[in-house]
Symmetry: C2
Subunit: 131 residues, 2 copies
Amino acid sequence: MTNQKKLVLDFLRRDTSHPTAEAVWENVKKQLPQISRATVYRILDNFQKEGVIRVLETKPTRFDGQIEPHQHFICNNCGKIFDLKEEKVCRCLRDGSNMVSVGKVHSFNVNFYGLCQNCQTESDDNLNNKL
Amino acid sequence: MTNQKKLVLDFLRRDTSHPTAEAVWENVKKQLPQISRATVYRILDNFQKEGVIRVLETKPTRFDGQIEPHQHFICNNCGKIFDLKEEKVCRCLRDGSNMVSVGKVHSFNVNFYGLCQNCQTESDDNLNNKL
DNA sequence: TATTAAATAGGAATTATTATTATTTAGAAG
DNA sequence: CTTCTAAATAATAATAATTCCTATTTAATA
Ligand SMILES: [Mn+2]
Ligand SMILES: [Mn+2]
Ligand SMILES: [Zn+2]
Ligand SMILES: [Zn+2]
């Protein structure tokens, strides 16, 4: 854990604004002026792969130091990003109620990630061949 | 409805691969070689605003000519994007079953869009002041 | 202390997207 | 069928976001 990594992680755990990579860089620079953009991008990427931070599917990409399961409400007007507890998400999707604590939901978008059947079969085959 | 628009829309309605803007351009060029990238980007943006096509929250952005409500399964291995019927989505989120017809879901990400309470109040105020 | 591998800084390069502007085109009016 | 006008387009410049490259620094280890 280098100083650079520590500063990035500390910042993301304190900050609740779901900052962009650029914003993370700007903020960490206050404490380590010579830190490079590329370093911040690399560290964010590594943390994401380790599951230490979360990545939001926004443009530009935003980052979240809070990794307990929750989803996000993005205001169409002001652009602010609010946290939604998992429970509210399920209710909203289940019974069409579109009111949540932070506002009124107009639309939502879900991306599921996993292994498609082809790729599952392939990885099973590889495993069997090794045995 | 210009020829350019027609070709873009026809392509998106035929194609089920959820192509990028670049891929739309490459394909439409086959029939209209002088079409400009900027035109494709503008047309995609307009169609999106009119609700004629859907935009996927991917990097890079992808487009979908199918606008009946459905969600997407993105394979972590091969990157292919599969359509998921709404019903399966709800079941998956509701009772933790992570098997869907196209594969096994490892994770998912939901973005909700709407008006936050602040912005709702503001727009109510504006309405009242006009009366 | 010397060796080595990993991480970083700084900047170039690339990718994706948006902005600009001169030209073209699709209709409407005559 | 012409002329006019506004909208749409092509070509390209500019910008934004991200990734790549490489010389240098740092940390860990023998
Ligand atoms: Mn969050
Ligand atoms: Mn689809
Ligand atoms: Zn708002
Ligand atoms: Zn796959």
